[in-house]
């Protein structure tokens, strides 16, 4: 095991440079250090001007998504030892505008998230005094994987469609829509389908499948979208039937 390892980190300071550049840093190598620990070492001891997002250090807040050697990863879960030998390339996520160094702009995702109505839609709300909506463990398992999304955006960074068509609503947002569609307590599937069968919705996806591969929480957004496509197509066929209610 080496004593030190080199990190090659993207730097972008809009006041200084017109384009991102790479800067190399040598950091100590420790068996239990992840890339995030190395970045913190750089910021604390070598160069305080390196900007990046992080918070929980345990893969649940979704802040620290970056590209490590070209692959979108949570840097708190990317061991230095898995990326030897150096130099280890650390870059901001693809397909988002770079604000500064390793920080990208996420407002597009938040805008799209709101569009898909990611909340429980009910025709009639139950009062608190009437107790909980009943939901069996099997019903919970139906949508559980899709509820695990930490909004880390690795899937967007892996999706070439999002790169080529920035209007695409994207894997995480559609998976969250499906999470509510499949929740036995929800009654908003029709409303969401209206939104997602539009131009930038479901049908932009061509099942590249990279999103599910990079997802650190096994949410399987690709599966969510394909199942949603089947449901949407079935729904469309049903509306063709003469006796269907429009």
């Amino acid at each position: 095991m080496p004593e030190t390892v080199t990190l090659s980190v993207t730097r972008y300071r809009p006041e200084q440079e017109g384009e991102p550049v790479f800067q190399e840093y040598e950091v100590p190598f420790r068996k239990d250090w992840v890339v995030l620990d190395a970045l913190n070492h750089i910021k604390d001891r070598l160069d305080g001007s390196l900007s990046f997002r992080w918070s929980c250090r345990m893969g649940v807040c979704g802040s620290c998504g970056m590209k490590v050697n070209g692959e979108p990863k949570l840097t708190c879960a990317a061991f230095l030892s898995s990326h030897l030998p150096g130099p280890i390339r650390v870059e901001p996520l693809d397909y988002f505008a770079v604000v500064r160094d390793l920080v990208v702009d996420l407002t597009d995702f938040l805008h799209k998230l709101k569009k898909v109505k990611p909340w429980l839609v009910r025709r009639h709300e139950k009062g608190v005094a009437e107790g909980e909506y009943r939901q069996t463990p099997d019903e919970l398992d139906t949508y559980k994987p899709w509820s695990m999304c930490i909004n880390c955006m690795l899937c967007y960074s892996a999706c070439p469609i999002y790169g080529l068509e920035p209007g695409f609503i994207g894997p995480a947002a559609i998976a969250l829509a499906q999470r509510y569609n499949q929740d036995s307590r929800d009654q908003g599937a029709a409303e969401r389908l209206e939104i997602l069968s539009g131009h930038d919705g479901l049908w932009q996806c061509t099942f590249v499948g990279e999103c599910s591969k990079v997802c650190p929480k096994n949410v399987d957004p690709a599966g969510a979208i394909q199942q949603y496509k089947l449901a949407a197509a079935a729904h469309w066929f049903k509306t063709l039937l003469p006796w269907s209610a429009k």
């Binding site: 809009p14 006041e15 649940v60 807040c61 909340w119 429980l120 069996t136 949508y143 559980k144 930490i150």
Partner: protein, 580 residues
């Protein structure tokens, strides 16, 4: 500088902040409500809570029992009127969250499931697998998206509260993405910024837990209550501080010292049984378990590791199937962050700082003594947690007091006038101060990270699990020196765009203020109670100290400690007894 205004402004977008915003939107739909947070709301530290949220819902349980467990767990420093309101409103709040879509784990018949938890005599802890806080936060965040009236200021770092005419009238903040200064005037401000665990070196807390709101309130004259009560969680991973949830013990895990012995039986916590017994052994309260670790350490019976001493948490006997069903996140954490499989090996753990019982002093409506300023969640001290918080009480606290603070703030805001020009003059002053701090180059030689680690080391040595007057005096002196050295801090980063070094420096200044409040409050409390243990005053002293400490910022910055009586309603102080 850009000026915005709102009627109610919530600072902090975690569980309490989002619940408060929804409460405003629902109780007073005509008011403008805004949430300002230094991170996107789904990054808030609520997201990492694992074990569960307690509320009385099953037959055979009662509000009085939940209240008694909370009050005795808090070593009688809890305000009993607040606890009564809390246990009464918790079930409704949790059901409301379920109606908003929270995926609580269920019994086979479809009703909400509960599990046992440390310090609770009955099973009343609701849970969503072992990611309760994550599901609660995302449910709340996604529900706030329903309300168009809730305006969000994401990634805006609040640096100061604006106070004029004896009431709080807004904030000044840095918009991180551009470096622009924002002044947001408001008729009521609710602080929901969480605790300050990062004052200590080993903590479960995320990087963002720097006590922002506590320091902001402290600096405008609001008192900080019970700051000396710092909760250690007995089981955290040694290097990262990552929490291994209490649920690991409630499902049946054992704590073993270096000889493989279940050492808790030596510390008046009951006798070892093969399956867990509520309020006994590994399900005893957190402070007693952490203290047992320190005593084992002094006896030399803990294991030595590269990051400090530790003991073992053994769940191998539970079997792979149960671990994957009830504790999947625990297995994932151990594998991914310390390369250990708990199905086959024992988990190395040690006590880590987890929660601040203390905080901005509020009443049971969430109001601080400063009109227009409210607080809810870990940032506040009502107090329902007293000297020691029971596990699974802090998540329902977010909901109950977030809702109360939201409703109170909304009612207050309805009666107020718009901000006077004097308020904006303060904002301009703050803008100049920040500009100067950002651009300062000459003479500065201290690094933020160096001062931060020295502060953390001082706190762990002198204000940790066991404290004494000489150690606290030394800490007070060291912190004063660090405060002075902080004035000479220099930044490498002079950019306006997303300058996280500037925010780290501002966060460090918040933490230094809070560290002093903790140390001075601890020094003045000459008794041992709950999580505050004095080796020189080992007994509980109800006659002199059945009171809350209030830390006020003195004119030179040194805290001044006063006292406030505890509200006792129906439960006279008794002994905290476990394992019998």
């Amino acid at each position: 500088m850009e000026v915005f205004s709102s009627d109610v402004l919530v600072v902090g977008g975690g569980g309490a902040g989002l619940r408060a915003a929804i409460a405003v939107a629902e109780t007073q739909p005509r008011l403008r409500v805004a949430v300002i947070s230094k991170v996107y709301p789904m990054r808030s530290h609520t997201v990492s809570a694992e074990g569960g949220a307690a509320a009385v819902i099953k037959a055979g349980d009662s509000l009085d029992e939940h209240a008694y467990d909370t009050i005795s767990g808090g070593d009688w420093l809890t305000d009993q009127d607040a606890v009564e309101a809390f246990v009464r409103e918790a079930p409704a709040e949790m059901l409301r969250l379920e109606h908003w879509g929270c995926p609580w784990s269920r019994e086979p018949d479809g009703s909400v499931a509960v599990r046992p938890f440390g310090g609770m005599k009955a099973q009343r802890t609701w849970f969503a697998a072992d990611k309760t806080g994550f599901h609660m936060l995302h449910t709340l965040f996604q529900t706030t998206l329903k309300y168009d009236v809730i305006q969000r200021y994401d990634e805006c770092f609040v640096t100061r509260l604006l106070v004029d005419d004896g009431r709080c009238q807004g904030v000044v903040a840095i918009e991180l993405a551009s470096g622009k200064i924002l002044a947001i005037t408001a008729k009521a401000v609710i602080l929901c910024t969480g605790g300050c665990g990062k004052v200590f070196p080993f903590t479960t807390n995320a990087a963002i837990k720097n006590g922002d709101g506590m320091a902001l309130a402290y600096r405008v004259g609001a008192p900080l209550k019970d700051m000396e009560f710092v909760q250690y969680h007995p089981t955290g991973l040694p290097f990262t501080g990552i929490l291994i949830t209490e649920a690991t013990r409630s499902e049946g895990g054992w704590l073993l010292n270096k000889d493989g012995y279940r050492y808790l039986q030596d510390y008046d916590l009951g006798k070892p049984t093969p399956t867990p017994v509520l309020r006994s052994m590994e399900l005893g309260p957190r402070d007693r378990l952490s203290q047992a670790f320190v005593k084992e350490q002094q006896k030399g019976r803990t294991l030595k590791g590269p990051y400090g001493d530790y003991v073992h948490l053994d769940i191998r006997h539970l079997g792979e199937k149960l671990i994957d069903k009830k504790l999947p996140f625990v297995r994932e954490l151990c594998l991914k962050y310390e390369n250990i499989d708990p199905v086959k090996e024992m988990i190395p753990v040690r006590p880590v700082v987890h929660y601040m019982m203390g905080g901005v002093s509020t009443d049971i409506r969430g109001a601080t003594p400063l009109p227009g300023l409210y607080a809810a969640g870990e940032v506040a001290c009502v107090s329902i947690n007293g000297a020691n918080r029971l596990g699974s009480n802090s998540l329902p606290e977010l909901l109950v007091f977030g809702a109360r603070a939201g409703a109170s703030a909304a009612a207050f805001a309805g009666d107020q006038k718009e901000a006077a020009p004097a308020v904006l003059a303060q904002a301009h002053d703050e803008e100049r101060r920040l500009e100067e701090r950002l651009q300062r180059k000459a003479g500065g030689k201290e690094r933020v990270a160096t001062l931060r680690s020295e502060m953390q080391r001082t706190m762990e040595e002198s204000a940790g699990i066991y404290r004494s007057a000489p150690a606290l005096e030394k800490a007070a002196g060291e912190l004063r020196t660090l405060q002075e050295r902080f004035q000479a801090v220099a930044l490498d980063d002079h950019s306006y765009t997303f300058n996280t070094e500037l925010t780290s420096a501002l966060e460090l200044s918040y933490m230094l203020d809070l560290a002093e409040a903790i140390v001075h409050s601890a020094r003045e409390r000459r008794e041992s109670r709950g999580s505050h243990q004095r080796t020189d005053h080992p007994q509980r002293d109800d006659e002199r100290f059945l009171r809350h400490s209030l830390a006020y910022r003195g004119p030179e910055g040194v805290p001044r400690i006063e006292y406030l009586p505890v509200t006792i309603t129906r439960w006279p102080p008794g002994q905290r007894v476990y394992g019998r």
